[in-house]
């Protein structure tokens, strides 16, 4: 599903974000990526959907060879990956429904199929009644649900989430986690960078810990392991 071999990433300013990372994540897994701020978590995640390119090493995501991927082909890769961010990244001037439909419009899906599929995911995230509302009128938790719905609408093989609960209060965070759990149960792989100790320690999954650009721990049903 996702494989990295000896991946190095050095930014133009000289900071070495990743130093020889090897990892294999299989289909259907639920993986937490933990570690101190600036340890390389974000870089690790960004490499998967080709926002960043590795300096050295090879990455495969769902059969795509990331470092050989042509600029033109990046959209094809991204359509098979759902991405969820701490700041939701919703298009503010589009309604909830339009935001979700956008991911299907880019693949030129038929209008009828778009309507149908959008209604499905809206129901899954419990926002059917908010379809025609602008993101700005929603709470943080609701906005994150919209962004999850958008990530899901293409039936991606993997959802990559960068601190999806970072801006949410504990109760809302749990709602969102339950949603991810449900999505994972339906077979979608989930890779999630997080700082939420309580969640990692309660909802036990595989934990990959990154420090100073290297994987220092990789446990089945692991714990958070940091004191923040």
């Amino acid at each position: 599903m996702i494989e990295m071999h000896e991946v190095w990433k050095t930014y133009p300013n000289g900071s070495a974000a990743l130093q020889g990372v090897n990892i294999r994540i299989d289909k259907g897994e639920f993986v937490y990526v933990v570690g101190p701020s600036g340890a390389g978590k974000s870089t690790f995640i960004k490499l998967m959907y080709r926002e960043e390119r590795p300096t050295k090493g090879s990455i495969f995501v769902n059969g795509f060879n990331i470092e050989r991927l042509k600029e033109r082909k990046i959209p094809i890769l991204r359509r098979q990956i759902g991405v969820v961010f701490q700041d939701f990244k919703l298009l503010q001037q589009m309604t909830v429904q339009e935001n979700i439909a956008f991911a299907l419009e880019v693949i030129e899906a038929p209008a009828k199929k778009i309507r149908q599929r959008v209604a499905e995911v809206l129901e899954l995230v419990g926002l059917t009644d908010k379809a025609h509302v602008l993101p700005g009128e929603l709470s943080g938790g609701q906005q994150q649900r919209v962004s999850i719905a958008r990530a899901l609408v293409n039936n991606p093989v993997v959802i990559i989430a960068d601190e999806p609960t970072g801006n949410l209060d504990p109760e809302t965070s749990w709602d969102i986690m339950n949603l991810f759990e449900e999505i994972n149960r339906r077979g979608t792989t989930i890779v999630m960078a997080t700082h939420n100790k309580e969640i990692v320690n309660t909802l036990k999954k595989r934990v990959i810990a990154i420090e100073n650009g290297q994987i220092v721990r990789d446990q089945r049903r692991g714990v958070y392991g940091y004191e923040d």
């Binding site: 959907y49 926002e51 033109r72 990046i74 959209p75 094809i76 890769l77 991204r78 359509r79 991405v83 990244k89 919703l90 298009l91 503010q92 001037q93 956008f102 991911a103 419009e105 880019v106 693949i107 030129e108 038929p110 209008a111 958008r150 293409n154």
Partner: protein, 294 residues
């Protein structure tokens, strides 16, 4: 691309105008101001062009025929002049007619000319206009070499001066139109760049969801086109009304009359609409380029 996708891009382009209301207003205003300037100048340039054409049309040469030439030879001369390349029209004025014209000009003192009918001192002459008035001088030197031609008059210096002035006016006009077009392009490009800069997050999100560059670019292209077209409407109306007022109330300068509103206004409207649409699209596509590399 599917028809439904194309329609989606048009819909989005239209919606974006409303979503970014103030940005739209700013861009449309920038387009309007530059196109108003350009349009006003086009009208001016056209009138100057007409004016200089009118003057040039009046340029003609008088060909004086040698005295005591017989009529048959003169007629053969006329054929030779007509056969020269670049001759537009040839009018033969026999000396009798010349005398007649002179009498008319003298009016009250026409009796001074009594008696000249028997021994007419005037020469036969031809009045010749060149196809291209600028070629008058070249044509004159050709005519001079024909037999029976005594002399050719065309106020050489005045005419050459006139041509050099009209040439300068024309070239300056062309340069001005090109310059203004570029200024308009630059202004529109900049305004749209500001609006796109405000929307780079939007573009980034679209790319993360898997939109191709073309897919993102299309609505912007439509938007640019619409901004250009909208921006050209106000200047067209202002110029139409303003010029109509000028034609009706001022009419002209000295002995030159302004070109009539119809059909000039249609050409100007077409040009402004076309330039507006074109630079709207170019401006927006140029502006978006750098933000697509995510």
């Amino acid at each position: 691309m599917k028809i439904s996708t194309l329609m989606r891009h048009w819909r989005e382009g239209f919606k974006n105008l409303g979503r970014h209301g103030w940005m739209t207003f700013a861009s449309v205003s920038a387009v309007s101001v530059t196109l108003l300037l350009l349009g006003a100048f086009l009208i001016l340039a056209y009138n100057v062009q007409q004016f200089s054409l009118q003057i040039e049309q009046q340029v003609e040469m008088n060909i004086i025929v040698k005295e005591k030439s017989n009529r048959a030879d003169v007629l053969s001369l006329e054929r030779q002049i007509k056969a020269l390349p670049g001759v537009k029209e040839v009018t033969f004025i026999p000396k009798e007619q010349g005398l007649e014209q002179m009498k008319q000009r003298f009016k009250d003192n026409a009796d001074l000319l009594i008696g000249y009918e028997e021994d007419n001192p005037l020469p036969d002459k031809f009045i010749v206009k060149a196809e291209d008035p600028q070629q008058t001088s070249a044509l004159a030197s050709k005519v001079e070499n024909l037999p029976l031609v005594k002399e050719v008059n065309f106020m050489e210096e005045t005419v050459e001066k006139l041509f050099s002035v009209t040439k300068i006016v024309r070239n300056a006009g062309a340069a001005f139109v090109v310059g203004l077009s570029f200024t308009a392009l630059f202004l529109i490009h900049n305004t749209i760049k500001v609006t796109i800069f405000a929307r780079r997050r939007e573009i980034e999100i679209m790319k993360l969801v898997g939109a191709t560059n073309g897919f993102i670019r299309w609505p912007f292209l439509v938007e640019g086109l619409l901004i250009g077209v909208l921006g050209s409407l106000t200047p067209i109306i202002i110029i139409g009304i303003g010029y109509d007022y000028l034609v009706r109330n001022v009419g002209g300068v000295m002995y030159f009359y302004f070109a009539p509103l119809d059909p000039l206004i249609y050409s100007v409207a077409g040009i402004l609409l076309g330039i507006g649409a074109l630079i709207g699209m170019i401006g927006s596509v140029m502006s978006i380029g750098r933000f697509l590399r995510i």
